[in-house]
């Protein structure tokens, strides 16, 4: 039997995946199976493919992705909790030719940062907002988020979320799609290769739109939180399909400034 040598296998023509140059070599701190890593990668790949690494400024939130700047090889600012759209507004207005995006979780964007989100969208700031919705506060240890589903258990809704008492989950993406300042609003997911490919197209669209100067591009990515949901990665993705997606329906909500009829 012929000896198998690694160098015979690892060749340029056999490569099916390569880490984007826009991602650093730092080890991700995310839990195994978490969707953040995939979402980061998509943004990095799009920046690399568009050749805008030197023209892009990102704003990170408070939450699990607070350290996103460790993983992206671009200029970044770390905002206070919920304030990323305010920073992005100022960055874009003082540097209108740059590409500016925020990356925010559901607690950051849909709870404490509601005012900043809605008003940046309403003003039609020419930025991209990437909204990672996993229905829970991950970093602080699995507390109820504005997007937590009814009945869903968290450390601050230990018997399940009771909508009558705690309010129901907020659909921020549908809400901001109503605002005249949003140009492109879509909801995507990253739990399967098919969804990852679609999400990447949405990320690309959001960056491309900044050339048009027509307002906010808003991409929600429904994601998982294995630790917060207390499920192994594969089961978490199954739970996402069975519970999150029926409520947070995937697809485009607004295209070219027009609401999509469903």
């Amino acid at each position: 039997m012929a000896e198998i040598k690694l160098e015979d296998i690892i060749k340029e023509e056999n490569l099916v995946y390569k880490k984007s140059k826009v991602m650093t070599d730092n080890t991700l701190h995310y839990c195994p199976g978490c969707g953040h890593g995939t979402a980061h990668r998509l943004i990095a790949e799009v920046i690399e493919e568009m050749g805008i690494q030197g023209e892009t400024i990102g704003v990170t939130p408070v939450g699990c992705s607070v350290l996103m700047y460790n993983y992206m090889d671009i200029d970044m600012q770390e905002a206070a909790h919920g304030r990323a759209p305010a920073l992005a507004t100022a960055l874009k207005r003082t540097m209108p030719n740059k590409y500016v995006f925020t990356y925010q979780g559901d607690g950051d964007l849909a709870a404490i940062g509601t005012a900043e989100t809605i008003h940046a969208c309403n003003r039609g700031e020419n930025i991209a907002i990437f909204f990672i919705n996993n229905g829970i506060y991950g970093m602080t240890g699995g507390q109820m988020a504005p997007t937590t589903l009814p009945g869903m258990k968290s450390s601050t809704s230990p018997y399940g979320r009771v909508a009558d008492m705690m309010g129901g989950p907020i659909k921020m993406t549908e809400l901001i799609a109503q605002l005249a300042g949003t140009h492109y609003v879509t909801r995507q997911a990253v739990h399967s290769p098919r969804h990852v490919r679609k999400a990447k197209k949405a990320v690309r669209q959001a960056f491309e739109n900044q050339k048009l100067n027509k307002g906010v591009s808003f991409v929600e990515i429904v994601s998982n939180c294995n630790s917060g949901w207390k499920l192994p990665p594969v089961e978490a993705n199954k739970w996402l399909v069975e519970n999150m997606l029926p409520f947070y329906e995937l697809g485009d909500i607004k295209l070219n400034g027009e609401l999509v009829n469903k």
């Binding site: 030197g54 704003v59 090889d73 200029d75 600012q77 992005a88 960055l91 003082t94 540097m95 008003h119």
Partner: protein, 361 residues
């Protein structure tokens, strides 16, 4: 060239100075008694005059975070507000200090606490000089006592902000903001070009160039020892500020046996009080701190040998008086006289307080 003189409100002087000294961006939210700042800016179309961005934000919180964003990109960014609004901005101010960014904040102080009053006050001294937001940090605090100083301190504020990479606070009050005085205007400066900004601020998030590492603006450090190292670095910076940036004014202090210590509007009224007291034969001088941080500790101590006592005059329950007492360190009596709630003290009241509290008559 002839001097360019204009009769202006203090708030308008802030706005005109911002345009003239090449401010890149102003973000604000209306609140009495300082709304003229953003009103004036909007009416002046600064975008046409210089390219300056002026935006009315959805809240004071958003406005200061916009300042944070623009400052991170090396821009000369500022905001203004009044006391309750400044309370809201404290989160952002702490982040800006923690990220070591230059920024200018103007507080046209009104009486408090809570919603308080729309009349002038000086009750924000503690908030301004002792931190205000969370964590160990300091602002450089400039206290104008005239409309001219309102104008001049905008440019000075930005110079200090970029020199030390630290937020600067102009601590004004409702009197200085609203009153009209003659102002000598400076020349119109143009905005720095993006290339000039990149050169002046190599740390700014202006887009990662091939020849440099990525720039990250953050105040986060999870390693306790590194965080402490950063805290120590900030302390060193504030020490340098204390050594180099103390500003003050002395009026009739040479032969004074008693010293009134007052800043801002109170210093204006105290000047009148000195005249009244001297007419009565009391040798009184005025010491006016212009920087509230760094506080003129050394300069106040230098007066100790010649004087019998100090009277702090403030439109507050007595805040700056604590810093005067720390400076004097028990070597002379230090008393406080103040009115609150938007009540403006009369010069006669100050003289009476001086007589009763220090001279003993």
């Amino acid at each position: 060239m002839d001097k360019e003189l204009r009769l202006m409100k203090g708030n308008e002087a802030i706005a005109e100075a911002a345009i003239r000294c090449g401010t890149d961006a102003y973000f604000g939210y209306p609140i009495t008694p300082q709304s003229e700042v953003i009103e004036y800016l909007m009416s002046e179309k600064p975008h046409e005059r210089t390219g300056m961005v002026v935006l009315q934000a959805e809240s004071e919180v958003a406005a200061i975070n916009m300042v944070y964003g623009a400052a991170g990109a090396g821009r000369r960014a500022m905001t203004s507000s009044s006391s309750p609004g400044i309370s809201l901005k404290q989160e952002g101010i702490s982040y800006i200090a923690g990220a070591e960014l230059p920024a200018l904040i103007v507080n046209v102080v009104r009486g408090g606490p809570g919603l308080g009053t729309i009349q002038p006050g000086q009750g924000d001294y503690f908030q301004s000089v002792k931190g205000g937001g969370h964590g160990d940090y300091k602002l450089i605090v400039l206290a104008p006592a005239s409309v001219q100083e309102m104008y001049d301190f905008v440019k000075l504020g930005f110079e200090l902000a970029f020199k030390y990479r630290n937020p600067i606070l102009i601590q004004s009050d409702g009197i200085i903001g609203q009153m009209m005085e003659k102002v000598e205007l400076g020349p119109q400066e143009s905005l720095r070009t993006p290339e000039e900004i990149e050169k002046e601020c190599p740390w700014a998030t202006t887009g990662k160039k091939q020849n440099r590492e990525r720039n990250i603006i953050t105040s986060l450090e999870l390693d306790a020892y590194k965080m402490e190292e950063f805290n120590l670095k900030l302390i060193e910076k504030y020490k340098k500020v204390q050594e180099n940036e103390v500003r003050f004014e002395k009026i009739k202090c040479d032969d004074a046996e008693y010293i009134l210590v007052a800043y801002g509007s109170s210093a204006r009224i105290a000047q009148k009080a000195i005249k009244l007291a001297r007419a009565k034969g009391i040798k009184v001088g005025l010491f006016r701190p212009i920087t509230l941080f760094p506080f003129p500790i050394k300069q106040i101590r230098e007066l100790i040998p010649q004087v019998k006592g100090f009277l702090s005059v403030e439109m507050s329950a007595g805040q700056m008086v604590e810093d005067i007492r720390l400076a004097v360190n028990g070597e002379r009596p230090v008393e406080h006289f103040g009115r609150m709630g938007g009540v403006i003290p009369a010069a006669e009241e100050i003289v009476t307080a001086l007589e009763q509290k220090l001279i003993g008559g």
